[in-house]
């Protein structure tokens, strides 16, 4: 037997793709976890339709999962896949545009039938030619029939048999990339072992048969080697942005000595935050699934009034509904955290796709002068730290804080070195201590934060509300008072700048082009800037996590560059905010509204154009 062709790679991106019922998200996740355990750095990108089960075999129903892994630091799931697993012709069609030229396509040849070509709306019987994929390395594998063959001795109905197809593909891919199967085996045992041993047995058998198929067909399948990455020492786990957000809030509750309350309403792609916290009754979390988005934030405000670390999670449409109540938390100066996992808008928009188009809504989308603190996480795992910080700022400065993440961060995952709680800074809520001196709107002269007295504390009984107040807490329509309070509320937010670090650059402190980004685009931004730097260009990256207030040194950093380009997944919201807040510079823009992350390639192309301009 001929040896397999062995290809050694620095990094490789694989895309699993099939019908939304084919189990591609699970397949992708299991492969990613296995790669992370193997020691590769990884980054993942689930890409699925908003319908739970769109019509089978159609392009609209294709669900995909891309993972990039490598022997060095991986910051993106990869622009283009080196290997595509297509479970049907629709999957091939949906993903052809995301393939690396000359890449490898493994497809279920059983499903490449005339009927399925029609469902995927191919005009001819040669989908590869039609999609101009002629010179790609194609590996036809009869996945469906081999799965059936593999399970013929088990007493399983046809539907259950077909549901094991994804394990065949997974087994084959594990062979191709030299991944051990033990983690996946354990997962299958844990998931099905007790409830339905037969299903567990079937999945395990198909997984192994897929692996063995690769081994037996060595002449036809190349084998890839991707060595482990040299990363920081420590205990690691794989984490997605939504779970990291939930855990960051939990960590803040523990640090501050407060109970955590989440009042929320399910909404894609933020629901996982609520789910992850609902699961943590063991840590005392009070989770309240409200009747609507408004009640989500209102119960949260109520819990903050009652002395809890209170949070609510949502996405764009829900954030819009919360606007009035968010204004109340600005006025009442109660510490709440709102997590907005952004998605494509306006209206229902692209619920399962990513976008950064809620920035201006977050900054300005309320009645009246209604300033609050805005943070943005930039990787799936740093959602943990920014959620923690959002809570710290809220509790120490008595101000609502919005944490912006997005669908890409929320659903994307990466390996994360788990911190020890001792690594995190302390949180000291501004609980009132002296009933003699207490007035609801007395302020710390430095931070302008008021004190927090909650029902049950003797001697601090007071009234707050949405009406303008004087310092003593009385309702006041006095013109001077409102004028001054409006300024105070703005200044209080501005003073949070003392709590946040200065803007740091990736690259030299001066140069020809400063690339500016914010939030979830970090991975693609840094990859593209590094690519430019490696090509000898004088390009640096300033990536913002602190949106309001902006870091103190922002203007100074900007002033050292000949050109500045602001890149974001919207029409230029951060750019216009910068024009207003950091005036005096010309801001070029790179914008994308496709419901997809940037690709490194397109960013580099744009930067080169701007450098030449």
């Amino acid at each position: 037997m001929k040896d397999a062709k062995v290809i050694e790679l620095e990094e490789v991106a694989i895309r699993f793709s099939g019908d939304s019922g084919d189990g591609m998200q699970l397949t992708g996740t299991l492969f990613s976890d296995t790669s992370a355990l193997f020691g590769n750095d990884i980054s993942t990108f689930p890409d699925y339709p908003s319908e739970i089960r769109a019509p089978q075999g159609t392009v609209g129903g294709v669900s995909g999962f891309q993972v990039q892994f490598g022997k060095k630091k991986i910051t993106t799931p990869g622009d283009l896949a080196h290997v595509l697993i297509a479970m049907n012709p629709a999957a091939l069609k949906a993903n052809a545009a995301f393939m690396n030229p000359g890449g490898t396509i493994i497809f279920d040849v059983d499903s490449f039938s005339e009927k399925n070509f029609a469902k995927a709306q191919f005009q001819t019987l040669d989908p590869f030619a039609e999609l101009k994929l002629d010179d790609y390395f194609k590996i036809p594998v009869p996945i469906t029939s081999l799965t059936k063959e593999s399970l013929k001795d088990l007493e399983l109905d046809n539907k259950s048999v077909l549901r094991c197809k994804n394990m065949f593909a997974l087994g084959l891919i594990c062979w191709m990339f030299e991944r051990p199967l033990d983690y996946i085996e354990r997962f299958i045992q844990n998931k099905f072992g007790k409830k339905s041993p037969l299903i567990a047995e079937a999945n395990l058998k198909v997984l192994h048969d897929g692996y063995n198929y690769g081994m037996n067909m060595q002449h036809a399948t190349p084998r890839f080697i991707v060595h482990p990455a040299p990363i920081e020492k420590g205990i690691y786990r794989n984490i997605n942005g939504n779970l990291a957000t939930a855990w960051g809030l939990l960590a803040a509750a523990e640090k501050s000595g407060l109970n955590l309350f989440i009042g929320s309403y399910p909404i894609t792609p933020a629901t996982d935050v609520l789910q992850a916290l609902a699961e943590r009754k063991d840590l005392g979390v009070k989770s309240f699934q409200a009747e609507d988005e408004i009640a989500g934030i209102c119960t949260t405000i109520g819990a903050a009034f009652a002395g809890h670390l209170a949070v609510t999670s949502t996405s764009g449409p829900g954030f819009a509904l919360k606007a009035e109540a968010l204004g109340l938390s600005v006025m009442a100066e109660l510490p709440i955290v709102v997590v907005n996992v952004q998605r494509g808008g306006p209206s229902t928009g692209l619920p399962t796709k990513t976008e950064q188009s809620d920035l201006l809504q977050t900054l300005y989308g309320r009645n009246g002068e209604s300033p609050l603190v805005v943070l943005a996480a930039s990787t799936p795992s740093d959602c943990f730290y920014y959620a923690f910080l959002a809570a710290k700022i809220a509790l120490e400065r008595m101000v609502p804080v919005v944490l912006l993440t997005d669908g890409f961060l929320g659903n994307g995952s990466e390996p994360w070195r788990v911190p020890n709680m001792s690594e995190l800074p302390s949180i000291t809520p501004r609980k009132a201590t002296n009933p003699e001196l207490f007035k609801p709107y007395n302020r710390d002269p430095e931070t302008l934060a008021r004190e927090w007295a909650v029902p049950g504390m003797e001697g601090f009984e007071h009234r707050i509300g949405g009406l303008e107040k004087n310092a003593a807490g009385g309702v006041s329509h006095d013109p001077e008072n409102h004028h001054i309070n409006t300024q105070i509320r703005a200044e209080k937010v501005a003073k949070v700048v003392d709590m946040i670090p200065e803007l740091e650059l990736v690259g030299e402190a001066e140069g020809d082009l400063l690339v500016v980004g914010w939030g979830g685009t970090y991975g693609h931004m840094i990859s593209s800037v590094r690519a430019m730097q490696e090509a000898g260009k004088k390009v640096s990256l300033a990536h913002f996590n602190y949106i309001k207030p902006l870091p103190k040194n922002t203007a100074e950093v900007f002033s050292k560059f000949k050109k500045i380009v602001v890149c974001e997944l919207n029409l230029g919201q951060f750019a216009s905010y910068l024009r207003d807040s950091v005036p005096g510079f010309h801001y070029y823009q790179v914008n994308k509204m496709k419901g997809l992350p940037f690709s490194v390639h397109e960013l580099v192309e744009n930067f080169e154009k701007i450098l030449e301009a």
Binding site: P230, E232, G234, Y236, E461, G466, D498, I500
Partner: protein
């Protein structure tokens, strides 16, 4: 022997009360303050939450913890307060516009969850604070500034909505009868779960006299049926009228006529889960029937805030994860300790977080 010896005065704040002279709200506030004093619960443990509307200024006039929130959301905000701290005694002050129009969703879900709150619904069948537009309880045909030719919609009957939302407690009172209002509020305060007390309240400016026909003291015993637990449903100046069920419908009968005796009259059981009869009592309207006053329904059911507490205690009793460090290191983790690996950099190390 009481612990605190509070009087109603202990619950009044220094703020000047700014309702219109003659407004029904004054009487209701007096009744609430008296009820709170009688509850003998520490002053610091009361929280009064309101929405928007005339009645919602209420918290400012109380000396307890109070929160004057936004239109329609008092029920939701109070739900958060009570869920967070079930040890508090939480009152929701709201009106027909606040709770039955803009806040309808929160109102029905509060009632459904049965959170242990006392909700006082001021029903003056009008929007007062915005100066006289019809509300969801205004009668069909009502002429107001936004219905100059009369409304073309039917009104909510608040009690129906409460029972339709699986409410466990509903009572009705009228502002001018302070003594009765106080009795009803005292009952509502004892109830474990969401208690809704509809107080028929007069708006002297925009809907003056709307409840006069019911309230008129001269005809009180003819036009109002004061329901008492375990007692027959008898009314009338001579206590000679009562209610019976005939073919599944309520019927007013005269004791002594057609062979009707006191024994034939229905006995009130608010504690029984008898939705049909209780809704029928709620729906009674003049002139055919007297208006039912008092506690109409008061049944036992699981209480949300207590269930939430219990669930956490149950889970915690057999928990494997007791703190964040344990959670962070639970499940699928792996250790990286290779030769080519670097020392970890703490996230907050080189950043200033004052």
């Amino acid at each position: 022997m009481t612990k605190f010896n509070y009087t109603a005065k202990d619950f009044k704040s220094a703020a000047e009360v700014r309702w219109c002279p003659g407004c029904g709200d004054y009487a209701i506030m007096n009744a609430v303050q008296k009820t709170m004093a009688d509850m003998d619960i520490a002053h610091k443990d009361f929280a009064v939450i309101s929405g928007i509307g005339c009645s919602s200024r209420f918290p400012y006039y109380m000396s307890t913890y109070g929160f004057h929130t936004i239109h329609g959301r008092a029920a939701a905000i109070a739900s958060g307060v009570k869920s967070a701290n079930p040890d508090l005694t939480v009152w929701v002050i709201t009106g027909d516009g606040d709770s039955l129009a803009i806040g309808g969703n929160h109102f029905i879900h509060l009632v459904r969850r049965n959170i242990n709150l006392n909700l006082v619904l001021f029903n003056n069948k009008i929007y007062g604070l915005t100066k006289g537009q019809y509300s969801p309880t205004s009668d069909r045909g009502k002429i107001t500034k936004t219905s100059p030719f009369g409304t073309i919609e039917d009104s909510f009957v608040p009690g129906q909505l409460v029972l339709g939302s699986r409410g466990t407690f509903f009572a009705r009172a009228i502002d001018s009868n302070v003594k009765h209002t106080q009795e009803v509020l005292a009952e509502s305060a004892k109830h474990e779960g969401t208690s809704v007390v509809e107080v028929l309240q007069n708006c002297v400016i925009f809907n003056d006299g709307i409840h006069d026909y019911v309230a008129d003291p001269k005809f009180r015993s003819e036009r109002q049926l004061f329901l008492k637990k375990g007692e027959p449903m008898i009314f009338g100046e001579q206590e000679d009228k009562g209610l019976i069920l005939e073919n599944g419908h309520l019927k007013v009968v005269k004791i002594g006529e057609d062979g009707i005796t006191r024994e034939d009259i229905l006995v009130h059981h608010p504690e029984e889960d008898n939705l049909g009869l209780q809704v029928a009592l709620i729906n009674m309207a003049l002139p055919e029937f007297p208006v039912a006053m008092g506690v109409i329904r008061s049944v036992k059911a699981p209480v949300y805030d207590q269930e939430m507490k219990k669930q956490i205690e149950t889970v915690q009793a057999k928990r494997r994860v007791t703190c964040m460090d344990e959670l962070l290191q639970s499940g699928n983790t792996w250790t990286v300790d290779g030769e080519n690996c670097s020392e970890p950099v703490k996230f907050f190390d080189n950043k200033c977080f004052g």
